[in-house]
Amino acid sequence: MAFLVRRPIDERALVQRVAAPDRGGIACFLGTVRNHHANREVRRLSYSAYEPMAEAECRRLLDEAASRWPAAIALEHRLGDLAIGDVAVAVVAAAAHREAAFEACRYVMDQLKHRVPIWKREHYADGTVAWVDPTGAQALNAPAEVSHG
């Protein structure tokens, strides 16, 4: 099962994958491309990954979540160029009860951001490009200001 995809994410297909007659609660999260980041206007962005590790880390993460909550979980993250409003990531967790579905879904999203080696390069309205650093470290923002044309 590939967690990284280079085509639009079909969240309904992910719901179908985890839905079952004994799982009444389905929690989903869709992360979409925003038009602003840190007060700058974003035109488009591209995601890249350390692909074999990212696939392995997603697998470990879902196994971990499935061992903590009685939930079936599906995950896809898109790579490549995305436009504003495109779905970049989708997590769907289905369980007999909604608490487990919500908690598993949120856990996977939180962990994904911290553990799965995926990076985001934003293209701004002023023509510049930057690697997004969620930790906000100065040293990492500096090179990001270089335009990649």
Binding site: Y50, A54, K113, H114, P117, W119, W131, L140, P143
Partner: protein
């Protein structure tokens, strides 16, 4: 165990921009840690010294500490802060 350890170092995202490349073979004396390989990699290319001294690393596709020992043929990835989702 060979006296010299060859490690395939991978640079991603902003670190790749800084190092001007996506990978490099780094050779260190045995025994060595992931941190030793990082130190050498930062010194090998102009610009690579702007990679943090203690970056996140993955050893053979698993998150690792810098104190982890490396072996000949290992793959060590230098990971900028992740930004998925």
């Amino acid at each position: 165990m060979p006296e010299r350890i060859r490690v395939n170092v991978l640079f991603f995202a902003s670190y790749s921009d800084l190092a001007g490349r996506e990978s490099a073979e780094v050779i260190v004396g045995s025994p060595a840690t992931a941190g030793d390989v990082v130190r050498q990699a930062r010194a090998m290319f102009p610009g690579a010294e702007r990679i943090p001294e203690r970056p996140l690393v993955a050893l053979n596709q698993t998150h690792s500490k810098l104190a982890a020992p490396v072996a000949d043929g290992d793959e060590l990835a230098l990971l900028p802060p992740m930004a998925g989702g």
